[in-house]
Symmetry: C2
Subunit: 282 residues, 2 copies
């Protein structure tokens, strides 16, 4: 595995791989890798001849009071994990490599970004769309892999790729969970043991929601209320949002008639966790 820090090195390595006829697979990450990331990389490895992973904690997608500075970082461990799943190229740029000054351009996806996490994290998805379009232009992958845990991010990126005619395929990959159900996240490391235990209410409430749908529930206001009620019983949990939205447009759904997304964000102490599941009417 080659580790590079400059855009020029990425371009040259990818150019050579493409010249050799290889399909380019790409997994953009913010590092502090866990089994969710490794699942994306393994899928890339199985579908692409040349696998590129980026590790970049993107400052522009963090709000002023968010956790950019304390976001967990462990490059040495991340390198070993990438090597263990046979990544070909690890791109780990400095902030100045990605945002040389002056920097003035932003990519915005309207409509999908005002609800859910976009409502509590203004500007977040502009930061995501901008950095992801930059990384796509640097790596020029044929296919890129994103975790479905960040469902709104997947929807935003798919919309951006279609709207800007980016010539690549986006592959959403199902959320990977701990054995007890907690969705994997680099931010889980922030949790105290008590918070870690309390956070199980997230996957439990979503599983209950899916059970209710399978039992015939189609009223999505009632379903969201049931999720909220279960989470409210957990003293350490503070709900940011619980919403049931249309799967692609992310607009609120009253009655389940096609695929929808039950999505939530909940704080445990200073730590904000997100999770979601898809709901199918049949």
């Amino acid at each position: 595995m080659r580790i590079v820090t400059t855009i020029a090195e990425v371009r040259e390595a990818v150019r050579q791989a493409r010249h050799a006829g290889q399909r380019i697979g790409f997994v953009p990450t913010m590092g502090y890798l866990h089994e969710g990331h490794l699942t994306l990389m393994r899928q890339a490895r199985s579908e692409a001849g040349f696998v590129v992973v980026s590790i970049f904690v993107n400052p522009t997608q963090f709000g002023p009071n968010e956790d950019f500075a304390r976001y967990p970082r462990d490059l040495e461990r991340d390198e070993a994990l990438c090597a263990s799943v046979s990544v070909d190229l690890l791109f780990h740029p400095a902030v100045e490599e990605i945002y040389p000054q002056p920097f003035r351009t932003s990519v915005k996806v309207a409509g999908l970004t005002d609800r859910l996490c976009g409502a509590s994290r203004p500007g977040h998805f502009d930061g995501v769309a901008t950095v992801v379009s930059k990384l796509f232009n640097i790596v020029k992958p044929d296919v890129a892999y994103f975790g479905q845990k960040d469902a709104q991010q997947v929807a935003v990126i798919q919309r951006m790729v279609a709207d800007l005619n980016l010539d690549l395929e986006i592959v959403p990959v199902p959320t990977v969970r701990e054995p007890d159900g907690l969705a994997m996240s680099s931010r889980n490391t922030y949790l105290s043991p008590a918070e870690r235990q309390a956070a199980l209410v997230l996957s439990r409430s979503l599983a209950m929601a899916r059970d209710l749908v399978m039992a015939g529930e189609r009223n999505m206001s009632a379903l969201a209320a049931a999720i909220r009620a279960m989470i409210a019983e957990e003293p350490l949990a503070e709900i940011d949002y619980v919403e049931i939205v249309d799967y692609a447009a992310l607009q609120p759904v009253e009655r389940l008639e096609r695929r929808a997304l039950a999505a939530l964000a909940v704080r445990f102490g200073k730590t904000r966790l997100i999770d979601n599941i898809t709901l199918e009417p049949s």
Copy 2:
């Protein structure tokens, strides 16, 4: 010359040309071609193995009270002109091919777009940046050519290309003028004979400005005032703006110390024309 209307046809033709080892040159236009456009195409022809021209009157860069509907169009004539300079591929998409609904993404370049034409045409450069980034992603050129007459557009696109890491070269091409000095523009066709004659004051005032600089004038407020005074003597001319700005950042300049841009927009009846020259301190 091949004429296509779909993105898929462009991608396939460019893929084949690239596979044959050809450099891809691109000239995006809104059609109603004149010698300025043909100069861009000839330069592309001399520098690229495969020359793509797009003709697309982009609705999103026109304001609600602007001339989108009446913008001049003559595809048959444009086709003949493109063929006459040996263009390889002419892309002439319908609006629905470029903006299928829903469409939600926009590319914005801050700072460069609030002055000059950006001030009198709010949203114009967002429309330009978005459609140009789409066209770049569709054509994937190695090099793209833009007329320096639209100097602010060139600055915005160069900034966007750098910021988004688009892997292509932008070549600005000097403004082509009629024998009497009027900068070529598809909008010149709107002018009545009297307005056409009056519009000569634009190039005349800019030539005077350059003469004053060559004679030692370094005070750019005084220079702008001299340009405004000359234009004000023309009864059919109504000034939108006359500004002297830094060449790259497009910020106002008080004293000429490095390359600057003298740029203006002036109305003659319903027709708004722009022109500019570069000013060098030595």
